[in-house]
């Protein structure tokens, strides 16, 4: 048990995935360098490219405390931060990333905003503002608001409207949503201009968007290639590869890197090289992983030939915007709004077809299980993140009813390794293999193609 706990990170099957960690460190280093050079820095929530690109076009360096939380968890240094935030009165049920960040911020403050020497990855420097977001979860703005306790910096909340599967199709609703987002982005630009005392660089923004779309196109193609049997890449690869497309998509280095990812995956597909030697079961993982124990996935691959062929809807890039939707748009802010909105609602037609809600965290799975020929889902209900957990039971019911795809539920947490019981999880996995066998037959009987 003890020895297993020590095996923290996973081996990763792609060469490029092994290199991707560079981008996480680069992001952190960039912000520290910016501070040294007197350039503005912000902490941002993942807001699906809504405001980050804009801020960067204004010369702001960004770092993402969510990513930092995962980083601390993976290097098993989050626990003291968690304790430190709890001891300031934050309930232990709050998001693990948030508690890690709040604990870190408290330390930073107590150290007069000099990054404490022992900080993981060199640490995040004090920001000039906080970029919060109204998408997906309440933590995304409440957490940054709560940071006011430690740092006297403005918080900007970027709104992200969210629609039900029926309401999405109400006449006018979508366009109203978009124009609301555009208005909010305009207000954000003014906020930045006021704060930084300089004008928006619109050309720079368009250039960045261009790079972003190119990086994302590659990332999307990689996703499509993963439908191949045997799967050329698995979840542990993806969780490393996502750093460039999620956090630095408008960075030329990231674009070049993604070209290499594409080439590597393409080579494996063309030569029918599977990520794991003996792929017997294709599984999908939902939603946020146990960063502290990714070695678990190597273990099940080895034991049972399980390849996790797809995972974590919310970290993926959406399918590219339809040309129709892009046509005639000259305002880069509108393009951004449409793209981010699309990220959250691209599965609306599927949701409508099956009459299910919500669109986010639920409807995309309807497509994935079919397209990726999934034998089973592994759900990871988190002790500390509700938004990515709320719909798991619901999705589990849906997948079983509609597609005869069973799920395995293993409780844990993104950051807090105290609640993940690896031994128990492996035992459940053993039993689940049978469950998948059985449902394969059921699907055959029902005429489902995989």
């Amino acid at each position: 048990m003890e020895e297993k706990k020590k095996k923290r990170s996973s081996a990763k099957t792609l060469q490029t995935a092994r290199e991707a960690g560079y981008f996480g460190k680069k992001m952190l280093a960039n912000t520290r360098m910016a501070v040294d050079e007197g350039r503005p820095v912000a902490w941002a929530m993942v807001e699906w490219w809504l405001g980050a690109t804009i801020a960067k076009a204004m010369g702001v360096e960004l770092v993402f405390p969510e990513n930092y939380g995962a980083f601390c968890a993976a290097s098993r240094t989050a626990e003291p931060n968690l304790d430190y935030s709890e001891s300031d009165g934050f309930p232990s049920t709050l998001c693990g990333y948030a508690r890690n960040c709040l604990g870190y911020a408290r330390k930073l403050k107590e150290n007069n905003f000099v990054i404490p020497a022992e900080s993981t990855g060199g640490g995040m420097p004090k920001p000039d503002f906080l970029l919060a977001c109204g998408a997906a979860c309440d933590a995304r703005y409440k957490w940054f608001q709560a940071l006011g306790r430690y740092m006297d910096v403005p918080v900007w909340l970027l709104e992200f409207p969210q629609t039900g599967s029926k309401e999405y199709f109400l006449p006018g609703n979508k366009e109203e949503n978009i124009s609301y987002m555009v208005e909010e982005l305009r207000a954000f630009v003014s906020f930045l201009e006021d704060l930084l005392g300089r004008k928006m660089n619109w050309d720079g923004l368009e250039e960045r968007l261009d790079i972003l779309f190119k990086t994302h196109e590659l990332a999307y193609k990689v996703d499509l290639m993963r439908r191949t049997v045997p799967s050329p890449a698995v979840c542990t690869d993806f969780w490393a590869l996502m750093i460039p497309h999620l956090y630095l998509p408008d960075d030329l280095e990231a674009l070049a890197f993604y070209q290499r990812v594409y080439d590597e995956v393409k080579y494996k597909v063309d030569n029918k090289i599977g990520a794991i030697p003996n792929e017997k079961y294709r599984m999908m993982f939902s939603e946020l992983p146990p960063w502290h124990t990714l070695g678990f996935f190597d273990e099940v691959a080895e034991r049972h030939g399980v390849a996790f062929v797809f995972e974590s809807w919310n970290y993926h890039v959406p399918p590219p915007l339809l040309e129709d939707e892009k046509k005639g748009i000259t305002d880069p802010l509108e393009l951004i709004a449409r793209y981010s909105y699309h990220k959250f609602h691209h599965a609306a037609p599927a949701a409508k077809e099956y009459e299910i809600d919500p669109i986010l965290f639920t409807a995309p799975y309807l497509e994935y299980v079919r397209d990726y020929q999934v034998d089973g889902l592994m759900f990871h209900p988190l002790m500390s993140c509700r938004p990515a957990t709320y719909t798991l039971m619901h999705v589990r019911n849906l997948m079983l009813e509609r597609f005869k795809v069973p799920s395995l539920v293993i409780e844990g947490d993104i950051v807090d390794l105290r609640v993940f019981n690896e031994e128990e999880a492996l035992a459940k996995f053993d039993a689940f293999i049978e469950t998948m066998d059985y449902h394969r037959e059921l699907r055959k009987k029902e005429g489902l193609h995989w």
Binding site: M1, E2, D83, S87, D88, S92, R418
Partner: protein, 285 residues
């Protein structure tokens, strides 16, 4: 005037009888299942020891888990208030009290001699003294011994299960694997210390920290808690007594205030069922 404080805990019943001069005397007995009748017995014993009659006691305050079962008490107060008063009297500089009892564990923040805030765990045995009781019983050891023994370990065995029942099983497995007793004990104490620390942290720990309750008698637990805290803590000579002591102080305050207001201090006119078994009584310590 004489005042009495009774702390009817889940495992121990403690009584303090004090004079207005500040002198006091105490007695501690296991609570036993039938605390209603038993309390009368312990009270009789305490009175006997103090050479007082029941009528001579001016005011009685009961506290603790079984406080509602003290028919002859004039007032009942929560154990939080009483522990705070007792500890604050003994250590005027106290800011944080950590009390580890058999039924619950709690943290109390003290400011100007008053309760500022507190936290409590009484839902899951895993964070209370009960956890160690269960383990001592399992290992066939005395509660008094396990703490010392844990201190002898150079290589604590990590106990991964939170739940008391599962942890008990884990201990058995570790024993079968051949792990050393002291290493297992150290692991158990560390686990408990971690849980208590994380609970008390919620109210913000400030020095001085005073440890009370049965848990404070366990040298191993004290040390592991100190390790977590990063500094040393105070503990009273008799850590079980602070609740009863505080109750007796509260009794004094209430009675003296009543007298100052020109009222009769006694609200109720209860009687004590006299216990007729002095000969059974163990010698008074």
């Amino acid at each position: 005037m004489f005042f009495a404080g009774l702390d009817v805990g889940s495992t121990m019943t403690k009584i303090v009888i004090r004079k207005d001069s500040g002198d006091y005397l105490s007695i501690i007995k296991p609570t036993g299942a039938e605390h209603r009748r038993f309390v009368d017995k312990v009270m009789t014993e305490a009175l006997y020891k103090a050479k007082l009659s029941f009528e001579q006691i001016d005011y009685i305050v009961a506290t603790g888990y079984g406080r509602v079962n003290v028919p002859f008490a004039d007032t009942q107060l929560s154990e939080i208030t009483c522990h705070m008063k007792g500890v604050n009297w003994l250590y005027p500089s106290v800011r944080t009290i950590i009390d580890i009892g058999g039924q619950d564990s709690k943290g109390i923040k003290v400011k100007n001699g008053k309760t500022n805030s507190f936290v409590m765990n009484d839902k899951c045995a895993a964070g209370t003294g009960r956890f160690l009781e269960v383990m001592a019983e399992l290992l066939g050891m005395k509660l008094e011994e396990i703490g010392e023994m844990a201190l002898r370990s150079g290589n604590p065995v990590a106990i991964s299960k939170m739940c008391t029942v599962f942890a008990r099983q884990e201990v058995l497995l570790r024993l079968s694997d051949g792990a050393a007793l002291e290493d297992i004990l150290a692991g158990l104490h560390q686990a408990l210390a971690a849980r208590i620390f994380s609970m008390v942290s919620k109210i913000g720990i400030e020095r001085e920290v005073v440890l009370t309750g049965g848990g404070a008698k366990n040298a191993g637990l004290v040390k592991f808690l100190e390790e977590r805290l990063g500094f040393s803590v105070q503990k009273p000579d008799e850590p079980l007594l602070t609740g009863a002591l505080g109750a007796s102080l509260a009794a004094q305050e209430i009675a003296q205030k009543a007298v100052a207001d020109g009222a009769m201090p006694k609200q109720k006119n209860h009687t004590l069922t006299p216990a007729s078994f002095f000969e059974e009584m163990p010698s008074v310590n």
